[in-house]
Structure formats: structure tokens, C-alpha cells
Subunit: 306 residues, 2 copies
């Protein structure tokens, strides 16, 4: 498993060919599908604790759980949030769970494409729940929602003026919201936070017709709310599957991934070409500064390289 | 002007070459820049009335105003919202204003790229305020925000349960919100609506650091709030310009546009190739159904066409 995922993360041409073949065999075999859940939250929202707690619940229910990550900064910062596996002691040691840190370095697109392949590999290996977490830097939530069925947003309790934690754009993606740390001293604040977000969400149209975003309260510490949260995820997923929504979401994701791969090929080829004549970098620089118009610059580069 | 914009909308190779040359000359000359404002709102939010009212105010202040549109459905429905110029009597007849319906047909990307070129053409012709409206179908707001400096979201007054009009994702883009129809019988409801959205917005991080989204109330009918709304747009734009934020936004937009143009070239080339062997359509179909993995499919197509 881990070796296959490493292949998917590789940029070496011979690795690419090998993993492409494996992926094609997998999709041809149509392995049992999984429930793919994206999970995001600001630093301190309690992602690791929630994932460990939810994962333990899933193992108890007999599921096999894979935890993947999309963290484009992991290459630079020297370790993703999942690098420290001690934060998820049960999941890290269970034979029924697979925990994999984010692929290192490269662009967000590259990281997301590798993780997307990782989802398929995990399914082929028999994992029936895949959790894909992201640290929520920049556009990484969008990348995660492009490879998952449902998106769970975690929010830490906060009072009054501190209630500004949620990133714009993430609101758009969330299928469920869970306010964490609903325990001990933070219990009341968690409840206030949950009702504030529930109110704000009521001003937004559902992401998919008929699927109003629900706000949950959970505690990774004492496990309260975890059963209800999973039940909500499971039943929503079931409804999505039976209504045909899941199929259409995944079909659209596949098509998006195809164009992203094609674009990656284009960029790779152009970057390779540019490595020789440096003209692409100069052109992008001119375009960025507004000295060349994007249209003619793109046309010029295209004509020269084709 | 209108002829140049028509050239920019054309897909004929000889028109493309001509307009590309014009656009390159324009960016080389660096004409006076404009305030570029994206405007969106659900049907019935009062876009035309607001644009006419705001435009009249701008003409009074001595500005020259261009109104462009991004409406990917205009080709199909047979006429964009701006097709009916009678909705903007002053702007449609003033020599200091230029009103242009959305380019017809094609993809959203194609429409947006043509309108992006239109923005530059209008600036070169001396228009110093460019309003780009969109009907708000699907991803068109994102496309508009990729070619404008600021994004104004219009919301119609609504009470209680009807307060669900705002599209997710649009929240992410808005720099300003204006609740329309703040007049007559709707005045109180407009105020309730404005305060509900102001509350919801306080839960979101600012789009750019330090620029909290303001909620205004306006009436296109009696003109109340229009002066304040414009003053807010103008002063925000000024701060963006002096802080360097505007330059970095436009640089990023230029770079995005470059890759979009390059991708459009790729797609055109591939669609052309596919028109002969039909393999692209089949491949996308297989990928979409999940019978082929996007990676190997993209690689196969790329290898065959290069």
C-alpha cells in the first residue's frame, strides 16, 4: 500500500508509467467504493483529536479507515500535521487503519493529484472510509473537495469578537460543520458558536438542492457527538448515492481531474521547454507586470512550442 | 469601440490575430487605468436599476462609464439582461457611457476571456469606471472577479425564511454588499436584511487583510445610498492602489489569464484533433464514468497528440 502511494507521489517518468498502469487496472476492476470525507479546520480546531476519535468509532463499527492528507506546505515546513503520528495513537497502530502524511513539496495541484490517486489505491486495498484532511492553507480545501464526496468543516469554540475564524470559500464547500471541544469549560462557548454558525448558514443556499448544512457539536476528548456526526455523514452519503447525486459528483470530479492532468502535462512540457530557453518565465513575468497581454503571449508561446 | 470588442469576441483566426495585436499595443502604451467593479445579484435583485442609478451618479461626477456583462447563457436564451437597453435609458444614450451586452454563446471561459479583453479596450478608449455585471449563473461570478478589482454583491430585501437567496461561493468574492430597494414598503425589510447579512459576514474573515466587507442599503429608485456606496468603492479602491494590493491582484489576474489562454489553446487544439478521431470525447466519457483513470487517459491523449 505505502509503496503504491509513494509511486503515485513520484514525478519520475518510470514510476508514473507503473502507477498509471496500476490505477487503470483498479478502475477497470471497479473495486468496492468508499465513503470519502474531506476534513478541514484552522490550526487549533482539533483536527487530529477529532480524526482519532472518529476513526476509533469507525474501527469499532467494523470499518477499515484510511487517513490521507493534502498539505502543500509540508515540503517546506518539514512535516505535515500527520507527520506526528503520536497524535493518532489508535489509528497509527491499528491494522485496520492506514495513516499517510501529505505528499511532500511540489505544487498544491501536484499534491492533490497524488492524494486523489491515493484515495483509489486505498479503496482497492479494502478501506471503506477515507478521511482526507487538509490544514486549510489557501486553496487546499477546494482541492480536497475535488477528491471527496462530503466536506466536514471543524470549528473551535470562540466567543464574540473571536468568532471570525472561518475562511471564506470554505463555507461554500462545507456539507457539515462540527464545532469541536464541546466539553469541560468550553461547553457553553461551543454551544454559542454552533448557534452563531447555524444562523449564518441559514442565509446560504444549500450546496446541493435539499441538503441543508447541519451544525454538530463534538468532543474528541469524551467522544460525545461522534456517533451522531458519523450517522449524519453516513446517512447523507447514502441519500447522495441513492439519488444519483454521488455518481454525478464523482463523474464531474473525474472530468475535472482529467483536465487537471492534461494541464499538468502542458505545464510540465512548457516548463521543460522553458528550462532551455527561459522564455516562458520571462513571458509570464511580462504578462504579470501588464507589459504583454495574456492572449497574445499565450498564443506566441503556443505557436513556438507546437 | 464596439467593433474592437466584437473582434475580441470572435473566434476566427484572422480576427484573433488583429485583436491580439491591438491588445498588445494597448498594454504597451499603458493607458490610464480604471476602477473595475464586478456586480452580481440573483434575478430580481435590481441589477439594472442599480447600475443605471450608479452610472448616472458617475456621469454627474464627470466619469466615463462602461458597462460590460458576462452571461454565458446569453447565446442560448437569445439575449442577455443588457440586451434590453431600455432598462438603462441614461447609460444607453449618453455619449460618455458605453453599454455592451454579454458576448453570445461559447463557454463561460470564452465569454469571460472576451470580456476581459473588453475591459482593456474600454480603458484604452478613456472609460475610467468599468462595471462588469453577471447574472450569477454557476461560476460566472468567479470569472467576473478574475477581471475586476472589487466585487459588489446585490441582495434584494427578504424577510425570515426567504433570506436564503445568497449563493455560496459568492460570499467569498464579495468586497461590498448592497441591499437594494431600500425604499417605500420594502424599507424596513431591507434594513432587517442588511443587518442579518452584516451579522453573517462578521463570522467570515476579510477577503483581503484589513478590508472588512461593508453592507450598504441603496435605492435605485430614489437614489438614496448611491453616493455613499460609490464613495465606499472609490475609497476602498484608492486604499488598494496605495497599499500595492491592487497591483498584486492585477498581476495575479494577468498570470491566471495567461494560463487560461494557454489552456484554451490546448483545448482548441485537442478539440480540433478530436473532431477528426473523436477519441477525446470518448476518452472524457470513459474518465467521467470511472472506466479510465484521469492520469493515464490524459497521458495517453497527450502522448498521441504531441
Amino acid at each position: 500500500m505505502a509503496r503504491a502511494v509513494t509511486l503515485a507521489e513520484s514525478t519520475r517518468p518510470e514510476d508514473r508509467e507503473q502507477i498509471d498502469q496500476i490505477l487503470d487496472e483498479i478502475v477497470a476492476r471497479k473495486p468496492a467504493s468508499s465513503i470519502r470525507v474531506g476534513i478541514s479546520g484552522a490550526p487549533g480546531a482539533g483536527k487530529s483529536t477529532l480524526i482519532e476519535s472518529l476513526g476509533r468509532h469507525l474501527l469499532d463499527l467494523g470499518h477499515r479507515v484510511a487517513v490521507l492528507a493534502v498539505d502543500p506546505s509540508s515540503g517546506r515546513s518539514g512535516g505535515s500535521i500527520l507527520g506526528d503520528k503520536t497524535r493518532m495513537p489508535t489509528l497509527s497502530t491499528s491494522t485496520e487503519a492506514f495513516v499517510r502524511p501529505s505528499p511532500a513539496g511540489r505544487s498544491l495541484g501536484g499534491v492533490a493529484r497524488a492524494t486523489g490517486a491515493g484515495v483509489l489505491l486505498c479503496e482497492a486495498a479494502g478501506f471503506d472510509v477515507i478521511l482526507v484532511e487538509t490544514v486549510g492553507v489557501g486553496q487546499s480545501e477546494t482541492a480536497v473537495s475535488d477528491i471527496t464526496d462530503l466536506f466536514l468543516l471543524l470549528i473551535a469554540p470562540a466567543a464574540g469578537d473571536d468568532l471570525q475564524g472561518i475562511k471564506r470559500g470554505v463555507m461554500e464547500l462545507a456539507d457539515l460543520i462540527a464545532v469541536t471541544k464541546h466539553d469541560g469549560d468550553l461547553k457553553t462557548i461551543a454551544e454559542t458558536t454552533a448557534s452563531a454558525y447555524a444562523g449564518a448558514l441559514s442565509l446560504l443556499r444549500p450546496k446541493h438542492g435539499g441538503y441543508q448544512v447541519q451544525t454538530h457539536m463534538v468532543s474528541g476528548l469524551d467522544g460525545s457527538g461522534i456517533t451522531e456526526l458519523w450517522e449524519q455523514i453516513r446517512s447523507t452519503h447514502e441519500r447522495m448515492a441513492s439519488s444519483g447525486l454521488l455518481d454525478s459528483i464523482r463523474a464531474a470530479q473525474n472530468e475535472t481531474a482529467f483536465w487537471a492532468e492534461l494541464m499538468a502535462n502542458v505545464q510540465d512540457a512548457h516548463i521543460e521547454a522553458a528550462a532551455n530557453d527561459r522564455s516562458l518565465g520571462e513571458l509570464v513575468e511580462l504578462v504579470s507586470r501588464g507589459s504583454r497581454h495574456p492572449r497574445s503571449a499565450a498564443r506566441e508561446f503556443w505557436d513556438r512550442t507546437h
